[in-house]
Amino acid sequence: MLFNSIDFAFFLPIIFFLYWIFNKNLKLQNFIIVISSYIFYGWWDWRFLLLIVFSTLVDYSVGQGLLNNNNQWKRKLLLWTSISVNLGLLAFFKYYNFFLYNFITAFSFLGANIKPGALNIILPVGISFYTFQTLSYSIDVYKQKLKPTKDLIAFSAFVSFFPQLVAGPIERATHLLPQFETNRKFNYSKSIDGIKQILWGLFKKIVIADNCATFVNLIFDNSTEYSGSTLLLGSVLFCFQIYGDFSGYSDIAIGVARLFGFNLRQNFAFPYFSRNFNEFWKKWHISLSSWFRDYLFIPLVKSGKINAWTKIKNIVILFIITGFWHGANWTFIFWGFLHALLFISTIFTKKKYKSIIPAKGKNLPSCREALDILKTFFLFAFTLIIFRANTIKHAYDYISDIFSSTLFVIDKHIISPNLIFTVQIILFFIIIEWYGRESKYAIEKLGSKWKPFFRYSYYYFIVFLILFYGGQTQQFIYFQF
C-alpha cells in the first residue's frame, strides 16, 4: 500500500480510530498494529508476509535463547544464526541473480562454459529495511545493550510497524521496542505535528519528486539524444527527485507514527545544505549510515590497529557495502566507492565548521559556506548519475556527454511550461527548506505563531499545490531497495 494512494487514505483513519478506542489496553493496541501492518504489507503480495513472520520468529527465538544462555559459545552461535538467516534471506532475494551472473561472467572469461538458470525471484518490498531492523535487535541483545522482550506481539509490532516497514527510517530496537512496551496516550500537539509532517512529506513526494521524475525519466532514458546542458539539468533534477521521494517518505512515516504516539528517528537533516561529505553523511539517510557506523564501522575499527591506513580501508569497506545495500548492480558499488573517496577527502581538509547547521542563527550563509554547499551538492549530483544509470557504461557516456561541446547548447524542445513550473517549485522548496533547516522538518515551526487565518491559508496553499500540481504518480524509489 502506498502512502500517496486512496487505499491508504481509507486505511489510516480506520486503524487510527480502532487503535485509540482501545487506548487503555496496550496488548490490544500492539495487536492492532501487527494486524494492520500485515494488511499494509500484504497489500503488495500476501506471500511477502511469510518472510516477515519467519524473520520475526527467528529473531524472537534468538532473543529468548540469548536471555537464557550465559555460555559465550552458545550466545555466539545464536547471534550468528540470526545474522545468517537475515542476511541469507536478503542475499537470496536481492543478490542471488547478481552473484550468479557475475560468477558465470568470471568463469566464461576463463574459458569455462557454465549455464545455470537464473531464478525469477520477486524482491520483497522493503526487505533491506526490516532485515537491518531485526538484526539490530539480535546484536544489541547479544551485546547486552537491550533486554530481550518476552512479548511476542510487541516484538512483531516492532519488526512490522507499518509506517516505517518498507522504506525506513531503520529503527534501533533500543529506541523503538521500549515504546511498544509502555502505555501510549493520545497527545494533541504531537498528533497535529504528525499531520504537518505528513503534509510536508506528501508535498515533497507528489509535487517535488513526481514532477522531477517526468523529466528525469525522459532525460536518462534518452540520454544520447540530449545536449550536455540538458543532461546536467537531468542530474540536478534527479537530486531533487530522490531527495523529495525518500525524505518525503520518511516524513510521512514519522508523521504517521506520531499519530499513533511513537517517535521515530530523524532520517534526513537538510543534506543539500551540507558543506562537505562528512557533514553530508550525518544528514542523508541517517538511520542507515548510523546503522553501518555502529554495527560495522566501529567493530571494524575495534578489531584492528588504529592508524590512518586502517581508517581509510574501513571507510572504503563501509561505503562499498552501503552502495551494495542499495541494489545488486555494479553502479551502486561504484557509487559507494566514489562516496568513500569523497568522504576520505574531508579527513585531510582542515576546514571545520562550528555547527553542523549552516549559517546557524543567520539568514544567509557566508560566501565560503555557499561555495562549499554548492560544491558538495554538485559533486553529489555527479555521483547520483552513476546511481541512476542502468550500467557503468551508461553513466560514463552520460557524464562524457555533459562535458562535451554541447554543454552550452540548449535543447529548446525540452523547455515546456511543466519544466518551468518544476524549476520554480524547486526554488520555492529550497527557500522553505533553508528557513526551516534548524527544525526537524522544514515546516515544523513555520507559521506556528501566525494568526489562524494566515496559518490555515498557508496549509491550504500546500494542499492546493499537492492537489493541483502533483506530477504523474510514481512508485517510491527506495521501495526497490
Partner: protein
C-alpha cells in the same frame, strides 16, 4: 482526541467538498467516451460496420468515406483489444445488422502488458470505461471517480471545466461518426523523432524479451475470443496493420515483429470469418500522410478509409 478529530474534519471538509464539486462538474463535460456510448446505446441496432481499436483507427479511419454500409467508429486512444471485446459483449444483443468489425493490429502492441493480477489490459484511462461506458471491470475503487484516478490532473480538470462552462468551448475531438479529427497535417510532428520515441515507448511498455511468449499469448487469446465471438454470429473480422512510418519500423526489434506476424498468421488462418490486410510498410503512404510516425493525419486518414472501404465492399462481392 475530540479536539483533534474536530480540527481534522474542519480542515478536510472544504477540500472534500471541492473535490466532489469538481467531480460533478467534470463528469458533466461532454467527452468521447460518453458520446460513443450514447451513440451505441441508440444506434447499435443500425450499425453494419463497426470500427474498434485504438488511436490508429480513431485518427485513421473516417466512416464518412464508407460508401455502402452504415459505419460507426467506436475506437479511441489506448483502447486495447480487451476493451473492444468488452464493448462487443456489452452490445451483443443490439448488433442486429452488424456484418463487419474492423480492428487494427500493430506487431508491438501484441506484447502490451496487462494489469498485474488481473486479465485487464493496461490502460491509464481505465476508469473512464467504468464511469462513462459503464463496463463492469474489476478495478480498484480509486478508479470509480475521476478525481481519484491516477490519470486525473486537477489543474487540467479545472481548465476543462472553465473552458466548457465559462468559455462555452467545445472540447470534443470526434465527428458525429466517431472519427478523431484533431490530428491535422498542418500540425504534423517530426516523423524521425516521434518514430524513434514511439518505438522505444512501445518496447518499454511491452513484455521483456524473456517473457514474449507470455505477452503474446495474453493478447492473442483476447483476439481469439473476439474471433470466436464473431464466428458465432457470422460477423466478418477485418484485421489490418495500418501504415507506420519507417523511422518507427526500423527501430523495432525484428524478432518481436517476426513473432507477432507469425502468431497473427497462425490465428487468422484458423477462422474463415477473418481477413487480414497488411499495410504496415505500404508504399502508397508517404510522409505527407502522417501526423506522427505511427498516426495518420486527415490526409492519410482519407486515403486509408477509402482503401478499407473498397476492401470491405469487395469482401461481400464474393
Amino acid at each position: 482526541m475530540k479536539k483533534f478529530i474536530f480540527k481534522i474534519i474542519f480542515t478536510i471538509t472544504p477540500i472534500l467538498l471541492l473535490l466532489v464539486i469538481i467531480e460533478v462538474l467534470y463528469r458533466d463535460i461532454p467527452n468521447v467516451y460518453k458520446y460513443k456510448k450514447k451513440y451505441l446505446d441508440n444506434h447499435s441496432n443500425e450499425i453494419e460496420t463497426l470500427i474498434l481499436g485504438n488511436s490508429h483507427n480513431y485518427y485513421g479511419i473516417n466512416p464518412i468515406y464508407f460508401s455502402k454500409y452504415n459505419t460507426f467508429n467506436a475506437s479511441y486512444i489506448v483502447q486495447r483489444t480487451f476493451f473492444d471485446f468488452e464493448i462487443l459483449k456489452k452490445y451483443e444483443n443490439n448488433f442486429k445488422k452488424l456484418k463487419t468489425v474492423i480492428l487494427p493490429i500493430i506487431p508491438m502492441e501484441l506484447f502490451f502488458k496487462k494489469i498485474e493480477n488481473t486479465g485487464i489490459s493496461f490502460n491509464p484511462s481505465i476508469h473512464k470505461y467504468r464511469i462513462y461506458y459503464d463496463l463492469k471491470l474489476p478495478i480498484k475503487y480509486g478508479n470509480y471517480f475521476e478525481v481519484t484516478s491516477k490519470m486525473f490532473r486537477l489543474k487540467i480538470g479545472l481548465s476543462d471545466i472553465y473552458n466548457y462552462l465559462v468559455k462555452n468551448k467545445d472540447l470534443m475531438t470526434t465527428t458525429e461518426l466517431g472519427w478523431g479529427y484533431n490530428f491535422y497535417s498542418k500540425d504534423a510532428k517530426d516523423l524521425e523523432r516521434t518514430g524513434e520515441h514511439m518505438a522505444k515507448q512501445h518496447t518499454d511498455i511491452s513484455y521483456p524479451m524473456n517473457e514474449l511468449s507470455t505477452g503474446i499469448k495474453y493478447n492473442i487469446d483476447i483476439l481469439e475470443s473476439i474471433l470466436k465471438w464473431c464466428q458465432k454470429r457470422n460477423i466478418q473480422l477485418f484485421l489490418y496493420t495500418p501504415p507506420i512510418y519507417e523511422s518507427y519500423r526500423k527501430k523495432i526489434n525484428p524478432n518481436r515483429e517476426e513473432l507477432a506476424f507469425r502468431s497473427l498468421k497462425e490465428i487468422t488462418s484458423k477462422y474463415k470469418i477473418c481477413t487480414y490486410t497488411n499495410l504496415y510498410d505500404n508504399l502508397d503512404f508517404n510522409e505527407n500522410d502522417y501526423y506522427d510516425a505511427d498516426h495518420l493525419s486527415e490526409i492519410g486518414a482519407e486515403k486509408l478509409s477509402k482503401i478499407i472501404n473498397k476492401k470491405i465492399i469487395k469482401l461481400y462481392e464474393h
